[in-house]
């Protein structure tokens, strides 16, 4: 079904050309595994048929057939709907894991720089798996503590193969390997309800599921970063407050056989104009406005969390104690910014052509190449061009005037603070 061409991202005849891609390849590129393995048979999430019935434009992403947009809304419209009302995303392609056992904590701490011992029960944190020595990021992930010996982890679909090999390799050389059990929740559904209406919609869903207000959790006391289990007629649901859009919202993990029913019920509650299905297209522009990284674009194996602007997820005590992959590199960078050659920052770009992934960042005074854009788009919320990328340290301060090259033309860009759009997380009344 996917057509071939309409070529992309290059210069005019007379100008030097970098790449020639089709509009359709670009849609795919954005959402394809960095490993880039074109799967023969695409996997389907439990919601696949529901997407097709809703007129979704399906593309291959990380080995799955996934929706980019739906028939009823264009990308910008869908994006704005999430910011103003609510959107429902299928993220069942992401990999859900459990790490249990007496050595689950030390095992995860040997792979990540996070201080998981300080994590409160039923709360989540962003973290990352690290490569030994270099401290490069294998993948970024969400880690939730359910109990002192029980962790729930969500990692990127695009890194599934790499992550599983990494986990099993590290586990096999871990001294207390017999005290760790790693399970992949294969086939488990995962949906993200995002946007200002999310709380009302989920509340109605819970009331409907649980029957009475007494057994219903008070969502006003359920804060950003917290998680809970709900015993529902649809089985045990895991609800995490947060997401990948910068809006208030929930990520709901659902037993495979109930994923369609839960999704349909949420859509029914929000029918009319409150909740609409949203695809990978809106997910990408929303997360960029929120200043969040997309692995394979803004993060990769050669980038440390400090360079990536994720110093906040590195535990101070972990740096002091060590005992995790890449500790030497990360502690050096943690202690001294001079050890950090480049930094991930945001950019606003003058009116006109947006700067996208791969665009060079240059010093307007000398023409020196300072780095590269890793994600960029016209912001549907702001109406201006936004981007993020890596820039040579020293040029990273907000307000620094630089230039980016788009199809051979130089455009003015300014280093900007992220998020570009203020986060709207629920932190209580």
């Amino acid at each position: 079904m996917l057509p071939r061409t309409l070529r992309l991202t290059c210069a005019r005849t007379a100008l030097p050309r970098t790449t020639t891609k089709s509009v359709f390849t670009i849609a795919v590129r954005k959402y394809t595994s960095p490993a880039g393995v074109p799967p023969v048979e695409l996997k389907k999430t439990p919601l696949h048929d529901l997407h097709v019935a809703a007129g979704a434009k399906m593309v291959p992403f990380a080995g799955y057939s996934m929706p980019v947009t739906y028939a009823d809304q264009g990308l910008a419209e869908s994006h704005k709907h999430v910011r103003t009302k609510a959107g429902l995303f299928d993220v069942s392609h992401m990999v859900q894991h459990r790490f249990t056992g007496p050595a689950a904590l030390p095992f995860l701490q040997s792979l990540t720089p996070s201080d998981l011992s300080k994590l409160l029960p039923n709360t989540s944190t962003l973290s990352c798996f690290l490569h030994p020595v270099t401290g490069g990021i294998v993948d970024d992930l969400m880690i939730t503590l359910h109990g002192p010996e029980d962790f729930y982890v969500v990692s990127n679909a695009a890194c599934a193969e790499k992550d599983l090999a990494y986990i099993s390799e590290n586990l096999s050389s871990f001294p207390r390997r017999s005290e760790v059990e790693h399970t992949v929740l294969d086939g488990q559904g995962l949906i993200a309800l995002q946007g200002p209406e999310s709380m009302l919609i989920l509340n109605e869903f819970l009331l409907h599921c649980l029957g009475d207000t007494a057994s219903c959790p008070d969502l006003k006391k359920f804060l950003f970063g917290q998680t809970m289990f709900v015993d529902s007629p649809y089985g045990k649901l895991h609800v995490a407050r947060g997401g990948y859009t910068g809006e208030d919202g929930f990520e709901i993990s659902i037993p495979k056989e109930h994923t369609v029913a839960v999704t349909k019920e949420l859509l029914e509650i929000g029918k009319g104009d409150r909740v609409k299905l949203a695809g990978l297209g809106a997910r990408d522009t929303l997360r960029l406005e929120a200043g969040m990284c997309l692995y394979g674009h803004d993060l990769d194996d050669s980038t440390t969390p400090i360079e990536a602007g994720l110093k906040w997820l590195v535990g101070k005590d972990r740096v002091a104690e060590g005992g995790f992959h890449g500790h030497e590199t990360i502690s050096r960078q943690y202690a001294d910014w001079k050890q950090v050659p480049r930094r991930r920052v945001g950019f606003t770009i003058e009116k006109g052509a947006p700067a996208r992934e791969g665009a060079e960042i240059v010093d307007p005074a000398t023409g020196e190449v300072l780095g590269k854009i890793t994600s960029g788009c016209p912001s549907p919320t702001l109406g201006t061009n936004i981007a993020m990328g890596y820039i040579k340290s020293g040029f990273h301060k907000a307000g620094t005037e630089v230039a980016v090259k788009v199809r051979g033309k130089t455009r003015q860009a300014t280093v900007a603070k992220m998020p570009f759009v203020k986060a709207n997380y629920w932190k209580g009344e």
């Binding site: 079904m1 057509p3 071939r4 061409t5 309409l6 070529r7 992309l8 991202t9 290059c10 210069a11 005019r12 005849t13 007379a14 050309r17 020639t20 089709s22 509009v23 359709f24 670009i26 849609a27 954005k30 980019v68 947009t69 264009g74 990308l75 910008a76 419209e77 994006h79 297209g281 522009t285 006109g352 052509a353 947006p354 996208r356 788009c377 016209p378 549907p380 199809r407």
Partner: protein, 156 residues
């Protein structure tokens, strides 16, 4: 004139203009040829028009696939273009796409309205959302398709 007719009856291969839309004093039959590329551009030319000025844009199918167009990069006037080579670009929220010239020629006009309102491309990709006018020799070039063939191509 060729463009106007193409606008009116976008998609038709051979169209006879309405008398009211031609300024010719005597009735004549204009023959507008419209062709499509694998890169999803269209080109139309009034073969009776001795000036040989063709109009180029992106197809409805392409505009729909791109989504909301936010910026169009237009070529400078009088610049030469080559068949199958990019002369400009269309940017949507989702992506940037080169506009490839269906045939060789010289840019004689650009649609300045797109500078202020790039969304015209979404509203009327094969009409008011035309991109350039090219002085051409003919519409003979490798890989150009007739409407039916192009339609089939997009359905594959």
């Amino acid at each position: 004139m060729s463009f106007r007719i193409a606008t009116r009856l976008a998609g038709a291969r051979f169209v006879a203009p309405r008398a009211a839309r031609t300024f010719a004093t005597t009735p004549r039959v204009n023959v507008v040829i419209k062709k499509y590329t694998q890169d999803h551009e269209w080109i139309s030319l009034d073969t009776e028009d001795a000036s040989k000025i063709a109009t180029v844009g992106i197809t409805s199918y392409a505009a729909q696939s791109l989504g909301d167009v936010v910026y169009v990069e237009l070529p400078p006037l009088t610049s030469p273009v080559l068949a199958g080579e990019p002369f400009g670009a269309v940017e949507s929220v989702k992506s940037a796409s080169d506009i490839m010239s269906p045939v060789a020629g010289e840019v004689v006009a650009v649609n300045e309205a797109l500078n202020d309102k790039p969304s015209i491309i979404n509203a009327s990709p094969e009409g008011e959302g035309w991109i350039v006018k090219l002085k051409v020799k003919s519409l003979e070039a490798e890989g150009l398709m007739e409407e039916a063939e192009y339609k089939k191509f997009t359905e594959e």
